[in-house]
Every structure is written in C-alpha cells, then in structure tokens.
C-alpha cells in the first residue's frame, strides 16, 4: 500500500503493508530514530509521537491510520524549545532512552495547561516509564516549563 504521510512538516511517501506500525515506518523508512520500540504494546511511552499535536503510541498505530494527520517526532521539535531547555536545565534524564516520549508528552501537557501541579504532571506521565528512575527531575522540568 502506497501512503503519503506528513512527518515533521515534510510529505513522505512510503510503500508498506497496511499493518506496518507507524514507529517502524518512521524508523526504517524515514530514518527518524527518536521514537523507540520497547514494550510494543502501547504501555511504556518510548514510541510516543504527536498526531495533530496529541500524543499517541506509534508502536501499536497501523501506519494508514495516520493518513491526513500531522505527525511530529522529537526530531521535529526545535532545539531551543522551552520544554527541551527545561529538561536540560534540570538534568531530567540519565540514559535518555525514554526522553523523546517524555518531552512530547510534556509539551502536550504544557500546551493544554494540564501541568498545573506535581500531582497532575505525575498523572499525565502515567504511561511514560523511565527505567533509570528520573521521575523526580522530569516532574521538576515539566513544572518549570509550565510556569
């Protein structure tokens, strides 16, 4: 199936089986390695991308379901982005593997005004796991970005 997707503002045409997951299209066909496959069942958050600005799990999203939508990966976020800067300032990472998903989820929360308290931030990050256990600093970073 030939599909045209809009990734970080660019039109990308790929020829894939309809059941190919969006994350595999992004990694293997578009060479964007920010979204990662870890759990493969939409639970851990490392494959997070934004679809029309809303976070989704790209490891369980069949690629044709993203037709007509704006896909944003961490590569599409400017380096001087406020949320990214806050993660940097707060040293809110260790190995960094989960961070693309964390940043994209955080951006959505900050933009929607749903990062008003630490409890609300923790709630919003419920589906983004960090195996290094950097949660405290990640929450610090999002709290700063939301100010």
């Amino acid at each position: 199936m030939r599909i045209e997707l809009s990734v970080n503002g660019n039109a990308i045409e790929v020829d894939v089986e309809p059941t190919t997951m969006l994350v595999d299209v992004l990694r293997d066909h578009v060479a964007l390695t920010g979204p990662r496959v870890t759990c493969g069942v939409g639970l851990c958050g490392t494959c997070t991308v934004l679809l029309d600005g809303e976070p989704v799990s790209s490891c369980i999203l069949m690629a044709p379901l993203a037709l007509g939508k704006q896909i944003t990966t961490i590569e599409g976020i400017p380096r001087d982005d406020e949320v990214v800067s806050c993660f940097d300032r707060q040293h809110a990472f260790q190995c960094g593997f989960c961070i693309p998903g964390m940043v994209l989820t955080a951006k959505n929360m900050v933009e929607h005004g749903t990062a008003t308290s630490r409890e609300q931030i923790r709630e919003g990050l419920g589906g983004n796991l960090c195996r290094c256990g950097c949660y405290t600093k990640i929450v610090d970073a999002i709290e700063e970005a939301a100010r």
Binding site: P18, G40, L51, C59
Partner: protein, 269 residues
C-alpha cells in the same frame, strides 16, 4: 493485503456485507496490539477512519456518541463531564492519554475485553448501542451486546454505529481498583448509577462480562452503610470471579465486596 477506507456508513456496511470476514478497524489500539503481537491472521481491513458521521457527539437530551468518538473526547468534553460525570470518569481512567487519544467507544465495545473500563459504566447507565447492517438497524443494550470473553452478539455483517446514553437520574460513580501501575487495566471495576432511590451496580473486570444483579440492588437503602455492606457481600457471593495476573479469584472476591460497598456509599444517600 487490503485496507479500505469508506467515507460513509452505508458504504462501510456494503463492504462488510460483501466481505463478512474482513476486520473492521476503528481507533486500532486493541487490533494494533493483537496484530503487532502476531495474534491476528487477517488480510482484509475496513477502516472507519474517514467516516465523519461516526465522529459526531450529540449532547441535547440523551448523550449520542458516534462509534468513532475517542475516549479522550468523552473524558474532556465539558458538557459530558458536567452531565454524565460517571461516564467521563470511566473513559478518563483508561490506560494513558496516548491510548485515550486513539481508542474509540465503538472499538472498546466490539473488542468485548473483560478488563476494559467503560463497559461496566455503560451497562450501569443503561446505554444502548445502535447496530447497523445492510439489513437495517437494531438497538442493543450493552449488557446484551457483550456475550463473554472477546465475544459480542454482533452478526458478521453488523457494525456498531452509535451508543446512546440516557441522561442520568442521579449520581454516577466509577471506581477502578488497580493492583499494579496507574496505566494498567482494573483488577476490579465497579460502576454505580443512581436512579432516584434505586441504584444499578455493575461489576466489571472480574469475569467474562459486566455483572449486574437487579434483585440484589433492590434491597438498597440509600446512605445506609450496613445495606451497602450486605449488597457488597451478596455481589461477592454471586459472581464467579476469575484469577489472572492482576489478582487471584479469591482476592477479587474480597475486593468486590469492599468496592461495591464503597461505591454505594459514594452514590448515596
């Protein structure tokens, strides 16, 4: 492999009638997991993604939810939160925002997964699914739609097109009891919808389908702790609980009693 994207319900029904073996895909979270894990052997897909009439949400009178309305919309739409708070709550605790942004009401009902949050609240709220095929349309109460583990009473050529939820006649509360992490499915799900001085209590995630006992609920005295405790004990007695990775059958039985009591105290006096 084929992926068809009809743009009207009629077109989708025609495709499904011509090819009953094709899999209908709504949001695609459940099917995405099954497919990704190699549990689905299917070459033909009918995707509802382009059917805008399935994405409408009507809030005048009863709540009228197109099958493709996402969990997130039901969670966040102000009038739903205001007028159907129990329902907004049940859809708002499903997995993570990433799943809720994609998963749909039609999808969660068609999956008939015993451990999903919304079905028990929909049953408590007397929700009815509109089920269509080229042969016509019928209305199916949710308790008659879900037949068992991953099994519905939908015929091969039928689609859920809409879910209608009556305006509540009292408080509605959904309680999700988890034994693992926040984004996990419930170990015990308890939904209660108050109807004047009566109540409908529905317990989900503990057996193959949502469980409701009108006869047990009939004994309810609003606000009475002993009455709530007795009803909890009667539910725990009546339901044959299953055991799974989230809790044993014996553990669930205990929790059902406690959670039913708690939900009754929340919707009373």
């Amino acid at each position: 492999m084929s992926w068809q994207m009809p743009s009207t319900v009629d077109e989708a029904l025609r495709l499904k009638a011509d090819n009953p073996g094709a899999t209908v895909i709504a949001g695609g979270t459940f099917l995405g997991i099954l497919s990704g894990q190699g549990l689905l052997d299917n070459d033909e897909w009918i995707s509802l993604q382009n059917i805008s009439e399935l994405k409408t949400l009507g809030t005048e009178g009863d709540l009228s939810v197109g099958a493709m309305v996402t969990h997130r919309r039901l969670e966040l739409t102000p009038v739903v939160r205001e007028d159907w708070p129990g329902l907004a709550q049940a859809f708002g605790v499903v997995a993570s925002p990433r799943i809720r942004n994609v998963a749909t009401i039609g999808g969660v009902l068609a999956d008939a997964d015993y451990a999903s949050d919304p079905p028990s609240m929909l049953v408590a709220s007397r929700a009815v699914a509109e089920v269509a095929s080229v042969r016509g349309m019928r209305r199916v109460p949710i308790e008659d739609l879900i037949a068992g583990h991953y099994e519905t009473t939908l015929a091969d050529d039928e689609l859920i097109t809409r879910v209608v939820v009556p305006r509540p006649r009292g408080k509605g509360v959904y309680r999700k009891f988890r034994t693992r992490s926040r984004e996990d499915r419930p170990t015990v799900a308890v939904a209660a919808a108050r109807e004047d001085d009566r109540v409908r209590v529905v317990v989900g995630a503990v057996s193959d389908r949502p469980q409701h006992y009108a006869d047990i609920c009939a004994a309810w005295k609003p606000g009475d702790e002993d009455s709530a405790r007795e009803i909890g004990a009667a539910y725990a007695e009546a339901i044959r609980c299953i055991g799974d990775g989230r809790g044993s059958a014996a553990y669930r039985r205990r929790v059902v009693g406690v959670e039913v009591r708690r939900v009754l105290m929340q919707v009373g006096p």
